[in-house]
């Protein structure tokens, strides 16, 4: 359905948080399809807002060679944008879990955070550049010592240089809790393989790949 853009803020270089009015109920972790017109196929984005908020937001970054995102980035308040009903099944629960994200793969977990599901959670967020630690003040406040950041392409004081594997390799990982992984394909597959190698049953691993 066609909605009206409320805000489209560039929260980091090339990364935008697009807001429209929330029209439907959804489970935190679900996705919507976002498009501009019938000429370009819509893309699927995780909802990046709480399920009781008035706004529904999505987090996206500009794909230089992409057809959709450079145009999405141009949207101004008042412009029309196509947003589907929510769907998908990457759904969070109140049970203890480890959330693992790279880049904008943080979005579904941010929705879970703002839907009251952050208790008993550990978040691992891997990025290339420090500017991509989206919403880090809120994460620090909500998760404290259970918020772990990793930066692979630059040195940042107090943050390990490398990927989320740095943590997973060393940590004692409970086999009886869920591990949610969200991000690009290579990271998701590597992390899933690492978790399986460490004895986590694959039934306790939930993967959402950004196709």
């Amino acid at each position: 359905m066609i909605q009206t853009v409320i805000r489209n803020d560039e929260i980091a270089p090339g990364t935008f948080l697009l807001a429209v009015e929330r029209q439907h109920d959804f489970q935190p972790g679900e996705t919507v399809k976002v498009g501009l017109d019938d000429a370009l196929p819509p893309r699927i984005y995780s909802i990046c807002s709480g399920n009781q908020e008035d706004e529904l937001r999505v987090l996206f970054n500009i794909k230089e060679e992409g057809a959709l995102t450079p145009n999405l980035a141009q949207l101004q308040p008042g412009d029309p944008v196509m947003v589907s009903e929510p769907g998908g099944s990457f759904s969070g629960t109140a049970d203890p879990a480890v959330w693992i994200a790279t880049g904008t793969g943080i979005a579904p977990f941010y929705s879970m955070l703002h839907s009251g599901l952050a208790a008993n959670k550990t978040l691992l967020h891997g990025v290339r550049l420090a500017e991509q630690f989206y919403f880090s003040p809120e994460w620090e406040e909500a998760l404290g010592d259970h918020y772990h950041r990793f930066c692979s392409k630059e040195d940042v004081a107090g943050i390990p240089r490398g990927r989320v594997n740095l943590y997973l390799d060393r940590a004692a990982l409970p086999a009886n809790q869920k591990y949610y992984i969200c991000g690009q394909a290579t990271m998701c597959v590597e992390v899933r393989d690492l978790l399986i190698a460490k004895g986590i049953p694959f039934g306790n691993i939930v993967v959402e790949i950004y196709f």
């Binding site: 996705t31 196929p41 699927i44 998908g88 099944s89 990457f90 690009q184 394909a185 290579t186 998701c188 597959v189 590597e190 899933r192 393989d193 399986i196 190698a197 049953p201 694959f202 039934g203 691993i205 939930v206 993967v207 959402e208 790949i209 196709f211």
Partner: protein
């Protein structure tokens, strides 16, 4: 200075060949002549296009190359299957399998370098995604193998998810099936997908080739564990779409089902498959699981496999067991991977 690679003629459709001829100031019919040289006579150089004027050949050579690539390695299985390794223009590697069976020569082509889909049971998925193939690079996997003149069937079941590179896949099928191209029947081509619904709709609308869907379990939660795509594009949505199309004629739809021990080989799975596929004229291909490193999955035993097949057939679902081919050279279903070569290339 890095040499600039000229664009390839191979892989262009008739419209593109005609447009480039006109842009060079050549007659419109040159487009059809080029298609004939590329896809009927399969020449190796522009100089061999002897019915073009010398000036036309010079103009073409100045701006284009043929763009075909010989395989860089060939492995032969004890069962006659061959695995070809190709290097792409982007210095990446893909694999192609040629599977002989009596008079048939089936070529299993790749559509991407690596794959984004991350299926738990697939070696290609463990490689991650490195890039898209062009239509020319897809068709080249048929054009440049030793058996090119004997190929009877083509299956898009190699590395990659075809519906994630649909523009190039459709263009490659256009080249393979058009009169100006290889003039193959689309009924000799099968495209296999894990079921990306928007791509599925477009494929069914724009193409006549057969469709195969990687199903593997009819239950949502199980499929989500095996195939992350289930989160974004649930199987039920795929089945609902397929039910909108007519497969009662020559066009076929089949469902691929790797059978895992204790996971998807129970009577409940039979029952749910029968319910889910009710109303679709289709075939189920049961596939033996070929173990990959680090996998928590185990293939079902032969007795259970046969029993599972019989139960499905008894319920009216036409079901066969696909023969495993090329397992000794890692050419069998789910085993194609160029991860090690990609890593070496990255170091260089």
């Amino acid at each position: 200075m890095v040499p600039v690679m000229k664009p390839a003629l191979f892989g262009k459709n008739l419209t593109e060949l005609t447009d480039l001829a006109l842009a060079l100031g050549l007659p419109k019919f040159t487009g059809k002549q080029l298609a004939g040289w590329l896809y009927h006579k399969q020449v190796d150089s522009i100089a061999d296009m002897s019915n073009l004027s010398k000036k036309a050949r010079e103009l073409l050579e100045d701006q284009y190359c043929i763009g075909v690539h010989e395989p860089v390695k060939v492995q032969a299985s004890t069962d006659g299957t061959k695995k070809y390794l190709f290097e792409t223009d982007a210095e990446q590697f893909i694999e192609t399998a040629m599977i002989p069976d009596k008079e048939r020569r089936t070529v299993c082509v790749s559509s991407q370098v690596g794959c984004k889909m991350g299926c738990l049971f697939c070696m290609t998925g463990k490689q991650g995604f490195q890039g898209q193939l062009t239509a020319g690079e897809i068709v080249n996997q048929i054009r440049s193998i030793a058996e090119r003149d004997e190929v009877s069937n083509i299956v898009y079941m190699g590395m990659g998810e075809p519906f994630d590179n649909l523009d190039e896949v459709l263009k490659s099928i256009e080249i393979l099936t058009s009169e100006w191209g290889y003039a193959m029947s689309p009924r000799r081509i099968t495209v296999s997908s894990i079921g990306i619904t928007p791509g599925l709709v477009r494929f069914l609308r724009e193409c006549e080739a057969h469709l195969a869907i990687s199903l593997h379990t009819p239950f949502h939660a199980e499929r989500q564990q095996l195939m992350p795509v289930q989160i974004a594009y649930p199987l039920q949505e795929v089945i609902d779409e397929i039910k909108q199309w007519d497969f009662s004629g020559q066009r076929r739809v089949s469902f691929e089902y790797i059978v895992f021990h204790g996971l998807n080989d129970t009577p409940q799975h039979v029952q749910e498959l029968v319910r889910m596929l009710n109303g679709i004229r289709c075939r189920i291909n049961l596939i033996r699981f070929h173990p990959i490193p680090g996998t928590p999955l185990i293939g079902t035993d032969e007795q259970t496999l046969q029993g599972f097949k019989d139960q499905l057939n008894n319920k009216g679902l036409f079901t066969t067991i696909r023969a495993s081919r090329g397992q000794d050279i890692f050419a069998a279903c789910g085993l194609l991977s160029t991860k090690a070569l990609q890593a070496e290339a990255a170091k260089r």
